[in-house]
């Protein structure tokens, strides 16, 4: 007995076995077929033994179920009639999701409004993809968090069972307050940098060249740069110049730092760097500069434009330096690296790490380790002579600079 029940409709009124025998695929007119299939719930059988030729395959039955299943859940959907564009957009996104496009599962009213404000179709798609990525990352993080919490619970339970037996007979020198100690030590170092450190300026005058998303990226990079600087042996004294109170920049920075903003060990000012420092000691760092930086000079004030440029507005910072009549320099990337792909513009945190490294060691190879590896294939051979020079420089520098490991020892002394 080889009868297969193709599908069973749960609400079938009459369970009449009904077989379709299609002679030709185009034999039925659409109307007739629809009429028949809506009358009779399709419950087809077919015989496997008789090596079913394609004509005997029942191909159109699914249409009937699709259509009739609708009439039931169709009722519930009719109720809301007032379709404003927000609701239709929501539906559109839902349909796109069904199609497997990269759109978020849940979308808030605000995000919908932002979506509606997007000027073009591609902008909308881009924004939706961004939301999708965000949602995915958030979900993954949530899942990981839950997994970790579970593992922690497990470990706790296990420890409870064990530790009851063998107990406190150990001597310790310190309480476990490492994080706080480190923070205090870094704070002391920061204060010293405020007094005696070499200035490093972030020029914040680019907010009207950037879109909101770029501005947010910039602020993230600023936060990271500040963090790298704080942890260094010999930090810069950071200046945020041209930072207008209540500009988008300022608001975003305060939003990210919260109450820490007023306690940061750096100088934020509305003034331009030209007002704060003598003009001839300023060097504006920009990738468009024709002059290449050869050495890090400890008596100069370097300016970094805090500008994420996704729009390829080349020459903006060079134009700025030209207007103020400042010296400009760019990193000697081409001299030391076999450049492969990507922009010569580096992120702010990469810049500050390179500068910090140069300040402490003066070694270009070491400093340019912070250039992303994907952008270059490797270091270029530097001629013997210049290597000799570098070695000499290194010797003189290492005498009065600290080794990396000595960070804690040094801070404890003070």
């Amino acid at each position: 007995m080889n009868v297969t029940v193709r599908f069973l409709r749960p609400f079938a009124r009459c369970l009449v076995p009904y077989t379709f025998h299609r002679k030709r695929s185009h034999f039925y007119s659409g109307v007739l077929q629809r009429y028949m299939s809506s009358k009779a719930p399709s419950l087809s059988c077919h015989n496997k033994d008789s090596a079913s030729p394609p004509e005997q395959l029942e191909l159109d039955g699914w249409k009937a179920t699709m259509k009739s299943s609708i009439q039931e859940d169709g009722v519930s959907e009719v109720s809301d009639k007032d379709e404003d564009s927000l609701a239709t957009t929501r539906e559109l996104i839902e349909m796109w999701r069904l199609l497997g496009k990269e759109v978020p599962e849940h979308i808030t009213e605000d995000e919908l409004k932002t979506l509606m404000e997007c000027a073009s179709k591609s902008a909308k798609k881009k924004y939706l993809r961004y939301l999708y990525g965000k949602e995915k990352a958030k979900k993954a993080k949530q899942a990981k968090k839950e997994m970790k919490a579970e593992a922690r619970e497990e470990a706790k339970r296990a420890r409870l069972l064990e530790t009851t037996a063998e107990e406190q007979q150990q001597d310790f020198m310190f309480l476990r307050l490492w994080d706080r100690q480190i923070n205090i030590a870094l704070g002391w170092k920061g204060v010293q940098a405020m007094q005696f450190g070499q200035p490093l300026v972030f020029d914040m005058a680019y907010d009207n060249y950037m879109k909101p998303s770029e501005l947010q990226n910039t602020v993230s990079q600023l936060l990271e740069s500040e963090g790298w600087n704080r942890r260094n042996v010999d930090p810069f004294h950071i200046y945020f110049c041209n930072l207008k109170i209540d500009s988008a920049y300022h608001r975003e920075l305060v939003k990210r730092y919260r109450e820490k903003w007023d306690k940061l060990l750096l100088t934020a000012t509305e003034k331009s760097p030209v007002d704060l420092f003598p003009k001839d000691s300023i060097i504006y760092l920009t990738a468009d500069s024709p002059n290449v930086m050869t050495t890090f000079k400890h008596d100069k004030i370097y300016i970094i434009g805090s500008f994420v440029d996704k729009n390829t507005q080349t020459g903006t910072s060079l134009a700025k330096a030209k207007r103020l009549n400042l010296a400009t320099e760019c990193l000697p990337l081409d001299k030391y690296l076999q450049w492969e792909i990507g922009n010569k513009n580096l992120t702010l945190d990469q810049m500050i790490r390179i500068l910090l490294c140069l300040k402490n060691t003066g070694n270009w190879e070491e400093a340019l380790k912070f250039v992303p590896r994907r952008k270059h294939t490797g270091y270029l051979e530097v001629s013997e002579q210049s290597q000799e020079l570098v070695r000499k420089l290194k010797k003189t520098k290492t005498l009065n600079s600290f080794r990396k490991g000595s960070l804690n020892a040094r801070t404890w002394k003070r």
Binding site: L59, D60, M66, K67
Partner: protein, 584 residues
């Protein structure tokens, strides 16, 4: 060297019979082989005998290449079209490029053999067991079917199987892809069925589904519903030009001309550029009706083509021709021709519109170049205010120039010889013709070096006016402005296509003006010049655009087999003229 040879013999074989190429044991060496092929193919194409040694071989290659280059050039002189002719850039880029092994696409392997006839559910189950992949089986298989344009019945059997397993429910993504297949195979009744299902099942669809439904429905009796679908799209976004195009074609298929025209108006109103097939459909339809109103509208379309510098394709040109010839009583005669260098149509001998801008357009362009390209909101970006002032006073102090030369571009054009020598060569040849010259350059050209000799630069300065910008300033904007400022007769020499400066202009209309001006005023030096007489690429004297002169139309069109880049214009024309009513 025998190694090379034997290695080489094997490689093409490997290349051709390589179903294992990705999977086989030689995977690790694949990249090496690839690059080896790249090199050796080049050698081989030049000299198929045993190579004596690689160095000599390379010499041979370069020799052969330069030789061929020369030949190409000679060939070009006779048949060479102008600098902006369709396909010219491609030709330029191919000259000197080694013949590469193109068209060797690696075969794409799919892990599942697509069925050729409808399967029953057991067979589908078995196929699913064989399948291993990331995506869901149903999704993957129907995507493959859509890609390979399987027959509708196979897809239908898949859907039936899915529905059977899934309580009679078929997912939206499967439905859409099935719909795609139905539309592709023009199975209108199936399209209508799917349309019914979708309408009942979902309250609204997304753009992809709508587009397919519109395209499927326009052939059926229920084509009016495609207009409703278009309305649905409009609720959320602007429909694409294809959506409009399909609806218009549907309306024309069913003789509803008014709807078609109103949709066309809407399409143009959204600033979308109508697809050329849609415009062609209007012309095709026009053959059957004889209505003055309708023909006026068709002439409006031709004007639209003119204003937006669109060029019809080959088949569209044929449609235009047939439509004109079908107008009763007028006796239009159409022929496909080319335009002579003098700007006269080879078919009828009429002169084509001149390339020169009208005085208003000229002033407009000049001001735009000054404001958007040179200044651009920040004078420091391309130059400095001091330099700009210096340049303006310099230009005003000189008489109008005849030719403005981009010094650096010209100097670097020829790989042989010093740069200053090349520049001097060009300048002195032009100076002999008693032309007022301006050489634009940068200050570093004045500093003596191995490439820039002082005496030669002094001679250049004797024979021409010179302006040297700062080393970090851009010289092209100055070039444009100096040329525009000197007047309509002034030309400029550079091989640069100036696309980045064109992109600085604010809107499409200004960009088109710029392009027209550029076609008429740019002189490009032909390659291969060395100590011989200076020859330029031919400058167009006429404008390549749809145009009407009294009783005739001239319509440039794109040939199907020629690829045209956006900075080029077509070379083929459709010439339409009315037969003068004879005495009989």
């Amino acid at each position: 060297m025998t190694f090379y040879l034997s290695g080489f013999r094997n490689i093409p074989k490997l290349w051709k019979s390589n179903p294992y190429f990705e999977l086989g044991p030689a995977t690790s060496s694949a990249p090496f082989f690839l690059c080896a092929i790249g090199n050796q193919q080049r050698w081989f194409s030049v000299k198929p005998t045993t190579p004596p040694n690689s160095k000599a071989l390379n010499l041979l290659v370069t020799k052969a290449r330069t030789h061929r280059k020369g030949n190409d050039n000679n060939g070009q002189v006779s048949s060479d079209p102008h600098y902006f002719a369709a396909g010219a850039a491609k030709k330029r880029s191919h000259i000197g490029a080694n013949p590469q092994n193109q068209g060797h696409a690696l075969p794409v392997r799919s892990s599942v053999q697509l069925p050729t006839k409808p399967l029953n559910s057991a067979e589908w189950d078995k196929l699913k067991e064989d399948f291993k992949g990331k995506a869901s089986f149903e999704d993957f298989i129907i995507s493959q079917m859509a890609r390979n344009c399987c027959s509708v019945d196979v897809a239908k059997s898949l859907l039936a199987w899915v529905a059977a397993k899934n309580n009679g429910i078929v997912g939206y993504n499967l439905l859409v892809k099935y719909l795609y297949l139905c539309v592709f195979h023009k199975q209108t009744s199936e399209v209508i069925d799917v349309y019914e299902i979708m309408k009942a099942k979902y309250k609204s669809l997304e753009s992809g589904g709508y587009t397919l439904l519109i395209r499927g429905l326009i052939h059926s009796d229920r084509w009016r519903e495609s207009l409703l679908l278009l309305e649905d799209i409009k609720k959320v976004m602007v429909p694409s030009k294809k959506n409009y195009g399909d609806c218009i074609q549907g309306a024309l298929l069913h003789q509803d001309v008014n709807t078609a025209w109103s949709l066309y108006q809407e399409l143009v109103g959204h600033n979308l550029i109508p697809p050329l097939e849609t415009l062609k459909a209007f012309f095709d339809y026009g053959k059957d009706i004889n209505d003055d109103h309708y023909s006026d509208k068709l002439l409006d379309i031709l004007l639209y083509l003119r204003n937006n510098q669109l060029y019809p394709g080959e088949s569209f040109a044929h449609s235009i021709k047939t439509w004109f010839e079908s107008i009763p009583g007028r006796q239009w005669k159409g022929q496909f021709t080319t335009i002579q260098k003098s700007g006269q149509c080879s078919g009828c001998g009429r002169t084509i519109e001149s390339i020169h801008l009208s005085p208003e357009e000229y002033e407009f362009l000049k001001e735009k170049i000054m404001r958007d390209v040179i200044d651009g909101g920040d004078q420091y970006k391309k130059t400095t205010p001091q330099e700009l002032k210096r340049f303006e006073s310099f230009v005003n102090s000189c008489p109008p120039f005849d030719i403005v030369i981009d010094g650096l571009n010209v100097a670097k054009m020829f790989s042989k010889g010093r740069e200053s020598q090349n520049l001097l060569g060009v300048v002195s040849q032009l100076a002999q013709q008693n032309l007022q010259l301006l050489v634009l350059g940068r200050k570093h050209m004045l500093r003596p070096s191995s490439q820039w000799r002082k005496d030669e630069m002094e001679q250049v300065q004797k024979q021409a006016h010179c302006f040297f910008a700062d080393n970090i300033s851009q010289d092209d904007p100055f070039l444009l402005y100096a040329t525009l400022n000197s007047g309509n007769h002034c030309k400029f020499i550079t091989k640069d296509l100036l696309r980045d400066h064109k992109a600085c202009l604010p809107d499409a209309r200004t960009q088109r003006l710029f392009f027209k001006w550029q076609q008429g005023h740019q002189l490009a030096i032909m390659k291969g010049f060395q100590k011989s007489k200076l020859t330029f690429q031919h400058i167009l004297s006429y404008d390549t655009v749809v145009q009407r002169t009294g009783d005739s139309w001239h319509i440039p069109y794109d040939e199907d087999l020629v690829q045209r880049s956006s900075c080029e214009v077509p070379t083929k024309w459709l010439c339409l003229q009315r037969k003068t009513p004879g005495p009989c």
